[in-house]
């Protein structure tokens, strides 16, 4: 049987047109998905059963015992860190925030090591944003800055941006100009009308120079900025000002490089400046399919989108202090729960060494290096394929994910709710 209009639970594009062929409760074919989505739907090795660490080894156990051990670890901890939440649905995030509040912990999402600096930049400057639908239907200039959708969001260009065809953009790629700014000639750069190769860590300088040209102060600039000829920058500024509707799509090239949130602040400021001449919007190319959703849920529940300390009676947010990498680097967190993420792979090695020193609870469908460091491992259903729920596309549009096939595993939401329930009961005993 062919299931239609399935959402893809991989990247922030959250493509909603996938066709999935199901035969006797198993997925046997996928249409329209990119290589990343195809791989997700067709499945990978799973964690077979819940496990707890005994005498240094992970051994299989029951869900009941795993929930109990997880609750004991969180209850005993003075500074528990509840981290992840990107590859799961909003309903899990909501339950996770309740759990963090109950144990007086810090809750943080993978955004902090991804577009977290973008969020801080947005808090500094404000965002002239739009939906991807507006970009598709109206944009005649697309700027990819430090973003490589050809590898990270493979269908983005065709569905939403440079190569899409929309209501007022009937010519598709032919009717659009594309600028790519990056430190290497990526696959995305090969699709550009204008490619600007910058040195790593010079985004801020280049953006500042562009702002000066846009605002008519270009004569104060030297002949080259960060190795880029002024004439090149003038050409980019002219293309931007000539656009009827421009969209700047920012990637991790800005957030992971020297300057971090200030680079993003600069990009948002450039877009604000350009709105004095024409219409411009800016969007962050969010990575995992629901990393944006955690930010939404966390913001409406606590007032902050990530790195929220719930130990003080009122939510407290200070990334650099309350973000996962900082808590671990300072050896401050004394227990960690990881839901739908793999920090052992994605944090710096020294930070991972701090994880190895404390009890870790993992809630995830798939085995990964975080499993190696975990004391309790709880396997779950794959959201968007084996469990339904709400997710937010990278532009902030909320979409309902369907369940495509049944699973023997509980959902992330059920697992977190079970742990929360046991934590509360442990509280009653005291």
């Amino acid at each position: 049987m062919m299931e239609e209009d399935i959402l893809c639970p991989f990247c922030g594009c959250l493509c909603d047109d996938i066709k999935v062929e199901v035969d006797e409760g198993r997925i046997v074919g996928v249409k329209r998905a990119c290589r990343l989505g195809m791989s997700k739907f067709m499945g990978h090795e799973r964690i077979a059963a819940p496990m707890v660490r005994r005498d240094g080894e992970l051994v299989e156990t029951s869900y009941e015992e795993a929930y109990e051990r997880a609750a004991q670890i969180l209850k005993a901890a003075k500074r528990p860190l509840l981290y992840g939440w990107c590859s799961t649905v909003c309903e899990t995030a909501k339950m996770g925030i309740l759990l963090a509040e109950e144990v007086g912990g810090v809750i943080d999402s993978t955004a902090t090591v991804c577009h977290g600096p973008s969020i801080i930049g947005i808090e500094e400057k404000g965002l002239a944003g739009s939906t991807l639908g507006q970009v598709k239907n109206r944009a005649d200039l697309i700027v990819f800055w430090g973003a490589n959708p050809a590898e990270a969001h493979p269908r983005h260009t065709l569905r939403y941006s440079s190569n899409s065809t929309g209501m007022f953009t009937p010519e598709g790629r032919g009717g659009r100009k594309v600028i790519v700014v990056d430190v290497r000639r990526t696959r995305t750069a090969k699709n550009a009308d204008k490619f600007v190769l910058i040195r790593p860590g010079t985004d801020y300088e280049v953006i500042a120079a562009l702002r000066m040209i846009v605002k008519g102060k270009g004569d104060l600039l030297p002949d080259a900025v960060a190795g880029i000829a002024k004439s090149d920058l003038e050409e980019v500024a002219d293309m931007m000002k000539a656009a009827k509707f421009g969209a700047v799509l920012i990637g991790l090239g800005l957030t992971h490089s020297r300057g971090r949130y200030k680079n993003v602040d600069g990009a948002l400021s450039l877009v604000a400046d350009l709105n004095g001449f024409t219409k411009f919007v800016v969007l962050a190319m969010r990575g995992h399919y629901n990393v944006a959703g955690f930010g939404q849920v966390c913001a409406w529940e606590t007032g902050y989108p990530m790195a929220v300390d719930l130990s003080r009676g009122a939510p407290y947010f200070n990334p650099g202090e309350t973000a996962a990498c900082d808590l671990l680097a300072r050896r401050e967190a004394d227990a960690m729960m990881v839901v739908a993420a793999d920090p052992a792979s994605n944090f710096p090695r020294k930070t991972v060494e701090a994880m190895a020193e404390i009890p870790v609870i993992q809630v995830d469908p798939f085995p990964n290096p975080t499993t190696f460091l975990s004391d309790v491992v709880i396997p779950t259903a794959v959201c968007g394929i084996e469990a339904e729920g709400t997710a937010y596309r990278m532009d902030g549009l909320s979409l309902r994910m369907k369940k495509v096939v049944d699973s023997v595993y509980p959902t992330d939401e059920e697992v977190v709710e079970n742990i929360l329930d046991r934590v509360r009961r442990l509280g009653d005993d005291n």
Partner: protein, 134 residues
């Protein structure tokens, strides 16, 4: 004489890394992420022979990776797909905003005959450091 290349290391997503990121114990993930892309001129200057890997060293650590040429990279910049191999040489400092500097670390690269560690070997020494069960 050992030739050492000074370069800026950046990490990031690739299609192969993305397609195998939920199968991190698989050979596909190993092949996709335990590799270092080097510009053609730097690759040739290092004189890497067919059976050699590269040792990438920063002030934060070192890691052995397979090497490949990438004509999209400018000289002096190396690229490692995001994952535990790249993060072996990334520093902890978040600059007060929660996010380590995953792109832009100064690195030294040299050819080596040492084998690339697999994912299990990469983490083998860790849980022994502490944790509830040990």
């Amino acid at each position: 004489m050992v030739i050492i290349l000074k370069a800026i290391m950046i990490s990031g997503r690739t299609l192969g890394q993305g397609a195998s990121l939920e199968a991190k114990m698989s050979p596909e993930f190993f092949n996709a992420t335990s590799t270092c892309a080097i510009s053609e001129s730097d690759y040739n200057a290092l004189g890497i022979s067919g059976d050699e890997n590269v040792l990438v060293r920063t002030e934060f650590g070192e890691v052995v990776l397979s090497a490949r040429k990438d004509d999209g990279l400018p000289p002096g910049v190396i690229f490692i797909p995001m994952g535990p191999w790249a993060n072996a040489v990334v520093g902890q400092n978040t600059g007060g905003c929660g996010c380590p500097l995953f792109k832009g670390t100064e690195a030294e690269v040299e050819p080596t005959k040492t084998r690339v560690k697999d994912v299990c070997e990469l983490f083998a020494d860790l849980k022994g450091l502490g944790g509830e069960g040990s």
